[in-house]
Symmetry: C2
Subunit: 144 residues, 2 copies
């Protein structure tokens, strides 16, 4: 079977049904290189299945989020970005000047999680962080 079979099993196991819509939403997230907004997903699914509704996308995203199969991140642009929770954790730095999104290693955030856990007993969700700021290029420009 396809590489989605384990996800299907996970859904069924928690009392959910598998539908073509869910399958496609799931696949588009699974195979996306980065994060997708709800309407990104909507557009992609609609290409192959024109009658999906955006509300179905949101409802499915909620289910997947609750099952911790995907993560939701607010990137500051008003809408939320969703991403498949894969093996390698990574984070993003977003330049407020040129809106470039750069991926960074989990290593940068590792210490933070450990510190919070040790000192406060707080288990931080550091699966997917969005860090805003100015990239080197934009710093140079604003200095002029």
């Amino acid at each position: 079977m396809s590489c989605e079979s384990e996800t299907v099993t996970a859904l069924r196991g928690s009392g959910h049904k598998m539908t073509p819509q869910r399958m496609m939403i799931l696949t588009s997230l699974r195979h996306a290189s980065g994060h997708l907004t709800a309407s990104d997903i909507y557009e992609r699914v609609k290409a192959a299945y024109p009658y999906v509704d955006i509300s179905t996308v949101y409802r499915t995203l909620t289910v997947l989020k609750d099952m911790r199969l995907i993560s939701e991140t607010h990137m500051g642009s008003g809408d939320a970005a969703f991403e498949w929770v894969g093996a390698e954790r990574h984070h993003h730095v977003i330049c407020k000047g040129c809106n470039t999104v750069q991926e960074i290693d989990h290593r940068y955030l590792e210490k933070l999680g450990e510190g919070l856990s040790r000192d406060l007993g707080f288990r931080a969700d550091i699966d997917h962080f969005a860090i805003f700021g100015l990239c080197a290029e934009c710093q140079r420009q604003s200095a002029n």
Copy 2:
């Protein structure tokens, strides 16, 4: 004069006018113990000045944000939280279980900023971070 006088000077200096509305928005942020949403501020100002409009609040917040006198943080609840940028930087950990907001020291984030600056030349906005997760108490409960 009041403790706001330097802010007034800063506003004037950058070509802005001082109005009673701005003064009150500013004061409510200045004297708030934590972060306030736009409608929090709206409510507070309205108590003393009933004819303010929410759009004025937003417009003033934009001005103050551009001047870096306040910070804007998205705490995941759909709306944005604003806070006076004081001398001591601090961050927040937010429990997704009980919604408790806990303040944490800047020390936890220091290394992150240094690393990004050193490796990528990226100047991260780490004035005010919101970190989600589960507090010790809620972890215990969900374990049952």
